[in-house]
């Protein structure tokens, strides 16, 4: 399998705090990787850095995507290259309706198909509301995945898909992630994802290939995501510190 993403010796500080301390990893096209780790370990910072948000400026190290060094590229350039992100708490943009925004990012995609996606995600009633305006936790997640389905990135970062979502909606979100990544189809193997999860509930719906534990700005270990999750559930992250 061909490599899609490679991160080499990534260092980042936010204010006084050293948040990432030499992160290295890579992933192939079509793979799903999961990041575990306690609060403040650097998980969200890592995906925000990879996506290119200006506040998360790389101090040292390089990021390669589809063979190209993207370390100094802008967010929208990375998005155009095929990266996408589902925010844990996206901002509200009043006045810009979900329908209008979908039209802007859809780049002439089939209108009926788009409405079909909105219907599947239970978002028809939200199309004429401002982006994330008064959306519940589950509605936000579904709206994020809706936008990404229209954007069609090759690699998508998904930050805590279960947070603020009730159990009934987790199934819908899980299903939407599988659709987004093309896992419900035999073809289309090129979409991959990096998912941050605290609870691991999403693993009941999404078949992940590899898991990592991030602790104190470093990747400590990698392996089968279900094994890692059961280990964390049993011993917490404290054992990771010892493992180091």
């Amino acid at each position: 399998m061909q490599e899609m993403l490679r991160v080499e010796d990534l260092w980042l500080s936010l204010g006084e705090k050293q948040v990432l301390k030499g992160v290295n990893f890579s992933m192939n096209y079509g793979e799903i990787h999961v990041l575990f780790g306690p609060n403040g370990a650097g998980k969200t910072s890592l995906i925000m850095t990879m996506m290119g948000f200006p506040r998360y400026k790389v101090e040292r190290g390089r990021i390669y995507f589809k063979g190209e060094d993207i370390t100094d590229k802008d967010i929208y350039e990375r998005a155009r290259l095929g990266m996408g992100i589902s925010f844990q708490r996206p901002p509200t943009v009043r006045g810009v309706t979900l329908r209008k925004f979908i039209e802007i990012i859809s780049d002439g995609a089939d209108r009926e198909e788009i409405i079909g996606i909105a219907e599947k995600l239970n978002l028809l009633d939200h199309l004429d509301r401002g982006l994330n305006e008064g959306f519940s936790g589950g509605e936000m997640k579904r709206s994020e995945l809706f936008q990404l389905m229209v954007q069609r990135p090759n690699l998508v970062f998904i930050d805590e898909p279960e947070s603020g979502v009730d159990l009934e909606n987790i199934a819908l979100v899980g299903e939407a992630i599988n659709t987004l990544l093309g896992k419900d189809k035999v073809k289309d193997p090129k979409r991959g994802a990096i998912i941050i999860t605290h609870t691991g509930y999403i693993l009941d719906y999404v078949n992940a290939d590899k898991g990592y534990i991030i602790f104190d700005g470093r990747i400590l270990c990698g392996g089968n995501p279900r094994d890692i999750l059961s280990e964390v559930k049993k011993n917490g992250y404290r054992k990771c510190a010892v493992c180091r």
Binding site: F53, I75, V93, V96, K100, I105
Partner: protein
């Protein structure tokens, strides 16, 4: 039969006394600078206007082909040059100059200067003492127009004071849409536009009134507008200013006299260059179950100053409800916005009045969010700004919608 001489002389006398009376708000203007009197020839169609005048009219929302308009009225400087009523509306709708209406109808005495006080300030006084027409539009009881009536008040010369007095009467159960474009054909002209507008919305009547201003750097504007809304009547007002202006000050008022009357004001204000903009809206709730809503979106770019005011005044002992929503974005370090909302409950113990006001920059978080979907920074700012200004406005001419986007595109990139 024209209105009584006694009434006119009383009005004149009051105007004379207010000739030097400064307005409560806005910079004081020396009216003696603008004494040119310019008369113009009548024209056969709006398309026969000069290219410059046509462009100015279009930028103020005027459809020169008149394809989707019930009727048109055009005034250039001090002359009424064109009036046309679509044949389908003959006997249902009237369009003429106020001067003509005053000659024709003695009952106009019940409307002329009955809502706006002639002695409010020197500008109302000037509008009476040196009145240069204005439009009179009346829709007869229970009649509805399919398309808006358009009125264009155009200034084409230097040192002109255009003093118009407009009257709109929406008779019982009738419905009318009016687009008024006030505009300047000579872009470097110095001058002033004084517009008195008195609107009367009878029981169950509806008026959708859209005013688009297209002025320039050296031009002063002092409109004075009052709407009287009777039982079950509705007044929906939209004001759009997207071009520079030397100074503008206006504070239109809607009196909700009848039970269940309602009013909604929308204002889109885009301050450019060193424009001085002082614009508000006041809703006075006097009837039972009356409803008011006032929404303003202001963007200050360059060195512009914007005062965005809003007053909600409840005066009924019965239930009434009104909300004020006033937001601003500052695009420039040299710009200034003042958001001044005021709620007054005058013995109105059942009134529910509320407001939200905010001023801030465009949030970077929002821009980055849009960029993460593959949109460049400039485009993301344009999308957010367009969204900020996009109020749900019925009958807004498409050209204005396009113009809003163009202005944003030209200025938004300097904002962050």
């Amino acid at each position: 039969m024209s209105i009584s001489k006694t009434y006119l002389s009383d009005i004149r006398e009051r105007a004379e006394r207010a000739k030097e009376k400064k307005a409560a708000l806005g910079p004081d203007i020396d009216l003696s600078r603008y004494s040119q009197h310019i008369e113009r020839e009548r024209i056969e169609s709006l398309e026969s206007l000069s290219l410059q005048a046509k462009e100015a009219a279009v930028m103020a929302g005027i459809d020169v082909k008149e394809e989707v308009r019930s009727g048109s009225y055009l005034q250039v400087d001090h002359s009424v040059v064109y009036e046309r009523l679509n044949k389908a509306y003959e006997g249902r709708l009237e369009i003429m100059s106020t001067t003509e209406a005053l000659r024709r109808y003695d009952w106009l005495e019940d409307y002329y200067w009955r809502s706006v006080p002639v002695d409010q300030d020197k500008y109302t006084a000037q509008a009476e003492l040196n009145m240069t027409h204005g439009y009179f539009i009346r829709v007869l009881p229970h009649q509805k127009t399919d398309y808006p009536v358009q009125a264009c008040l155009l200034v084409a010369e230097n040192y002109v004071s255009q003093n118009v007095h407009n009257i709109i009467i929406v008779e019982e159960g009738a419905e009318l849409q009016v687009i008024t474009g006030c505009t300047l054909a000579k872009r470097d002209a110095e001058g002033i536009h004084l517009g008195i507008s008195e609107f009367f919305i009878k029981n169950g009547g509806k008026l959708f009134f859209t005013m688009i201003h297209n002025w320039a750097d050296n031009f002063h504007v002092r409109p004075r507008t009052v709407a009287i809304v009777e039982e079950d009547g509705m007044f929906f007002s939209t004001y759009v200013l997207l071009k520079p202006v030397k100074s503008i000050q206006m504070f239109p008022v809607a009196y909700l006299k009848g039970n269940r009357a309602s009013a909604k004001f929308n204002a889109i204000l885009y301050g450019l260059k060193d424009s001085y903009i002082d614009i508000g809206s006041r809703i006075i709730l006097e009837g039972e179950d009356t409803k008011g809503e006032s929404t303003a979106r202001a963007i200050a770019a360059d060195e512009s100053v914007i005062y965005s005011r809003g007053d909600l005044i409840a005066k009924t002992k019965d239930y009434c409800i009104a909300h004020l929503d006033c937001r601003g974005i500052l695009f420039s370090k040299k710009g200034r916005i003042y958001a001044i909302p005021q709620l007054v409950s005058d013995g109105a113990s059942k009134a529910e009045l509320s407001h939200e006001a905010s001023i801030g920059p465009i949030a970077e978080e929002q821009v980055e969010y849009l960029m993460s979907r593959g949109i460049s920074k400039d485009d993301a700012i344009s999308v957010i700004t367009s969204g900020f200004l996009s109020l749900d406005i019925p009958y807004l001419p498409e050209v204005i919608d396009r113009n809003i986007k163009e202005v944003i595109k030209a200025t938004a990139k300097e904002s962050m």
